[in-house]
Symmetry: C2
Subunit: 426 residues, 2 copies
């Protein structure tokens, strides 16, 4: 994979408290720029912040008085201070649903919550990460927003680019379902089908970044990845603020690349360091589908490395067979006393129905994975039902209707009271 130099970043950029990029492996620091891999060791770059000078209570008041979106946390994100006034989708500040009915069914007594990210503008958590990448793209002078995607991300990038006045060019496998294609195409950007699978699409995007044809292009999940990834911290911030500035005891997070889970951990630790929440132990649990469970498999085997798998599951938004952040996820699950678990596709469907029936939340398959894993972890005695537990739903059931296509009418009758009675409905 081509590694860009930082030549284009000699001008200074205003991304708020973001001070530099720092290698997660060797600690090497470089100026903020559209780069994602360390020039020394090829490790992943992430944002290093300067949070010095923040007064805890003033920061808390500022957040609480902020907008009903992720921008209430602008002082903690790689974005300029005036971000809320720029054209963007203003995602986040989604509902933390107190799931008392589900808690009863699962035997949770310590408080069970669903963080429901289907309430975002394009109905998945991807709006959070794309919003960060958009600000980085603005800062670096890019005029085209791009990505490789199989669904949620394509819609999030297309919509964000439309609102912000960027050109967009999104790459997807050419044979995606019609519904996903429509969702990605409706925002009017370029939507290019690649003859090949998702791996082929990714490989092509990496080539394009190194080519003059890709100049001026911000690939949200490639050359803007360090910024993009930070968007997931906002899930941690919101959960804690919505719990009354408290850490949850346990949190169940889906694993695709693993980035979201690592950033949620980062966000929780930042809140502790900033004094916004009281420090106390918390456990992070990772959730996968059995048909794509490389991290869960490694966790159970006690391995530090993650062996790639060929995905075969209905949970397509989590179907990354070679998750880049897998090793970090293993580390976090072990360090916090959590675990990584997986469920079958049948259990995913059951969990989608369970959540809908008990709480009126229609989750996409990824939400079925987290709810299913939560149930399994309770049954196995791994997750403590007496503790406060937050389960993430990162997407919307309307986008994965096929997974529950068997759901239907309970009866068909003629429009008469007799027919109604005959059907045993009275």
């Amino acid at each position: 994979m081509a590694v860009q130099t930082v030549a284009s970043t000699t001008h200074s950029v205003d991304l708020g408290p973001a001070a530099a990029l720092s290698c997660r492996e060797c600690g090497h620091r470089v100026p903020l720029g559209p780069v994602f891999a360390c020039e020394e060791c090829f490790g992943p770059l992430e944002i290093a912040y300067d949070f010095s000078g923040y007064d805890t209570e003033e920061l808390r008041r500022r957040i609480e008085a902020g907008p009903a979106s992720i921008w209430r946390y602008a002082p903690l994100l790689p974005v300029p201070a005036d971000v809320a006034g720029k054209p963007n989708l203003n995602p986040g500040w989604t509902k933390l649903v107190k799931a008392d009915n589900l808690a009863r069914e699962l035997g949770v007594t310590g408080g069970l919550y669903i963080k429901d990210d289907s309430g975002n503008p394009t109905h998945s958590f991807k709006d959070r990460v794309v919003a960060q990448a958009l600000e980085a793209a603005r800062a670096f002078g890019f005029t085209t927003l791009s990505c490789s995607s199989t669904g949620n991300l394509a819609g999030a990038v297309g919509a964000a680019a439309a609102r912000a006045g960027f050109r967009s060019c999104v790459f997807i496998p050419h044979d995606l379902e019609q519904g996903k294609v429509v969702m990605a195409a409706i925002y009017g950007g370029e939507l290019v089908g690649i003859e090949g699978n998702y791996d082929d699409v990714n490989r092509f995007c990496s080539e394009l970044i190194g080519d003059p044809a890709g100049e001026g292009w911000g690939f949200v999940n490639v050359n803007l990845r360090p910024y993009y990834a930070e968007g997931s911290k906002t899930l941690a911030y919101e959960i804690c603020e919505q719990l009354g500035w408290q850490l949850p005891d346990q949190i169940v997070v889906p694993i695709a690349s693993g980035s979201q889970l690592t950033k949620i951990d980062k966000g929780l630790r930042e809140l502790v360091e900033l004094g916004l929440v009281e420090d106390r132990p918390y456990k992070i649990f990772g959730a996968q589908a059995e048909g794509c469970s490389p991290v869960s498999t490694a966790f159970k085997a006690g391995h530090d490395v993650v062996r790639p798998q060929k995905p075969n599951t209905i949970a397509k938004s989590l179907a990354i067979g070679n998750p880049a952040d897998g090793p970090y996820v293993l580390d976090i699950a072990r360090r916090t006393g959590g675990a990584v678990e997986d469920v079958t596709d049948e259990q995913v469907v059951d969990a989608i129905k369970l959540l809908a029936r008990t709480e009126g939340v229609f989750a996409e398959t990824a939400g079925g994975v987290t709810v299913g894993v939560t149930r399994k972890l309770i049954e196995n005695g791994v997750l403590d039902p007496a503790k406060t537990t937050v389960v993430l739903n990162t997407g919307d059931g309307l986008k994965t209707l096929d997974a529950v296509a068997g759901t239907g009418l309970t009866a068909t009758i003629r429009p008469t009271l007799d027919s109604f009675r005959e059907a045993g409905l009275a």
Copy 2:
């Protein structure tokens, strides 16, 4: 249609400031109860409030400090004061999108806003009205929530009942599209297909209400309709608060039964009467699809009565050929200096694409109707582009994908830079 007596309402109910039901035609008052038609003249009953004793500035502070949902307006709705603590979907407080890109395309200089109700829990404005009906159902001791529906309402009722712990039984035409059936069925309630069209479903529900089999059933859009309808007032409240406690100059509202438009007018007038906004003229515009335009046709002909039509349009959520509140809509459009206009299905699709391309908002067909009508009204010189204008999007494009099914890939290429260049994408 059977008219229920008020026998079941001799016990007192706590629905906050709701004082009685009052006939919109003859003014006859009856106690709060599950009735919808006047026993004197068969006119529609609506809620009469007691807002006496409210101090304007105290009320404003209370609202602003309230939850990020319709329940911030609990003092102005037929619900108990502690409604936010009861299990419900907490809808509302959706985004008012400043649509600067769309404004440029349409030539609007006075400020253009999209009130985007796709952000509601089940992604349509129906969550607002169902939430009111749910509180009425609780107050009257109903244990089953029901409705006739062809789509959005079925999902909203199913989800609300699930969260609140009610049984639900929803009636739909038996031959609806699979996607809509899944959405309505996923929440686990009874979903009954009726062999017939939507009119047959409605007729059957009216019969069921008068039958012992329907005892204990709250039909949100029939015997709970006076409460249900009030939910649309919250659109008016939110728009004004989000504009900084100001009335918009112009507002474009879709017309199905016409109830929403009449309640938005009611909400605006209440805010003026309560002193929460300064009184000044505002114009309300109604929007229909040409294939179901009974109110628009009557408006243009100068008629006071609305002649029923047989609907034939892709805007199915607006396809009510005999709109109950049509005459009231005509009255409001004329009184405020507004108008009622319609657009073709082709214009609806164009408007959906226009809104998505300019603002990253993917509207359902009803949103295409309002945006399309706004464009037409500007072109015809009826809507003043120099005035502040709010356009409603009441649903989600994910629910009406078929309408824009022609949208797709802009190119298909092999995963190589050469192929990329050949396609003219570089």
